[in-house]
């Protein structure tokens, strides 16, 4: 009944567009959710960028010594630091977009970016 008003081209086109919109769901997912990154800053300078998907350990140098950053199981934490109180190590592991670990004495900031919307609506600075 309805098909009477459709040409063959119409039917093929609509099927193709359906497939395309389903396919774009997958595309959007890989583009926006997989791509979480960790940005490490020292003294406000962009030092390095790591992917949360790959386990890796990196060392950065700050004013008072070395800080070791480890990505493991999709989370990032500071495992070793030359700072006196080790608060940065005790802050534990973070993984959500917008979360931050700071080591004040060594001027190191580790933050998670990307992956779509931040966990926070906004951050006052």
């Amino acid at each position: 009944m309805v098909l009477r008003y459709c040409t063959k081209g119409d039917i093929v086109l609509i099927v193709v567009l359906f497939v395309l919109s389903a396919g774009s769901t997958a595309g959007v997912r890989t583009l926006f959710s997989g791509g979480k990154h960790v940005v490490v800053e020292v003294d406000g300078r962009h030092e390095m960028e790591l992917s949360l998907d790959r386990d890796v350990t990196e060392t950065v140098r700050g004013p008072i010594g070395e800080t070791v950053v480890t990505v493991e199981h999709g989370k990032v934490r500071i495992v070793k630091s030359d700072c006196p109180h080790k608060y940065c190590i005790r802050m534990g592991a973070i993984s959500r977009s917008g979360e931050v670990i700071v080591c004040v004495p060594n001027h190191v900031v580790v933050k998670v970016t990307g992956g779509g919307k931040d966990e926070f609506d906004g951050i006052a600075q």
């Binding site: 119409d10 359906f18 395309l20 919109s21 769901t25 583009l31």
Partner: protein
């Protein structure tokens, strides 16, 4: 309905289609749906105009509908108007091109689906360029595409039915038969 110059017949059809599309456009704005996922029933008028009168007059029908509709709703030259305007023009251009070059392959249903997809894609683009300025708006792409296919096919079907009825109606056929 016979007699009268071809130009007058054209004028009558443009006026009728603009008025009809305008009613749909305004009516639709009262539907308690998601603000961005309306069926686009006003586009039925554009499709009919494309098939019966050609691109030039379909442009008139589309512009009249969007501008007058926005005026009626008090949205003229607001951000919402920008969405309706850019989407309407994109849809019109895509449908016009498809009808011109692929008119043998696709009927009203396919042309309308493509137009609706263009409409939604351009609206997302405008949202990105003018309002959000963050790539994250394209997360909505799949939803907008799917909505475009569904609503576009349905309004296209409606246009196809109306076109057929118009063809069978003797008075209306007299109105359109001489329009190239």
């Amino acid at each position: 309905m016979t007699g009268g110059s071809s130009a007058t017949r054209r004028l009558v059809l443009i006026a009728m289609l603009s008025a009809g599309g305008l009613v749909f456009f305004v009516f639709e704005s009262f539907l308690p749906l998601l603000p961005w996922l309306r069926p686009g029933l006003g586009n039925v008028a554009t499709i009919i105009a494309l098939f019966l009168l050609g691109f030039r007059d379909a442009t008139k029908v589309t512009l009249l509908r969007i501008i007058l509709g926005s005026l009626v709703l008090g949205r003229l030259f607001t951000p919402v108007f920008l969405f309706a305007f850019s989407g309407g023009i994109a849809s019109l251009v895509v449908m016009g091109l498809v009808l011109r070059y692929l008119g043998r392959v696709f009927g009203p249903v396919g042309i309308s689906a493509l137009g609706a997809v263009a409409h939604n894609t351009v609206q997302l683009g405008v949202a990105y360029l003018v309002f959000v300025k963050s790539m994250e708006v394209f997360i909505f792409m799949p939803v907008f595409l799917l909505a475009g296919v569904v609503t576009g096919a349905l309004t296209g079907l409606l246009a196809a039915v109306v076109l057929e009825k118009m063809d069978k109606h003797s008075g209306l056929r007299a109105l359109t038969s001489e329009a190239p």
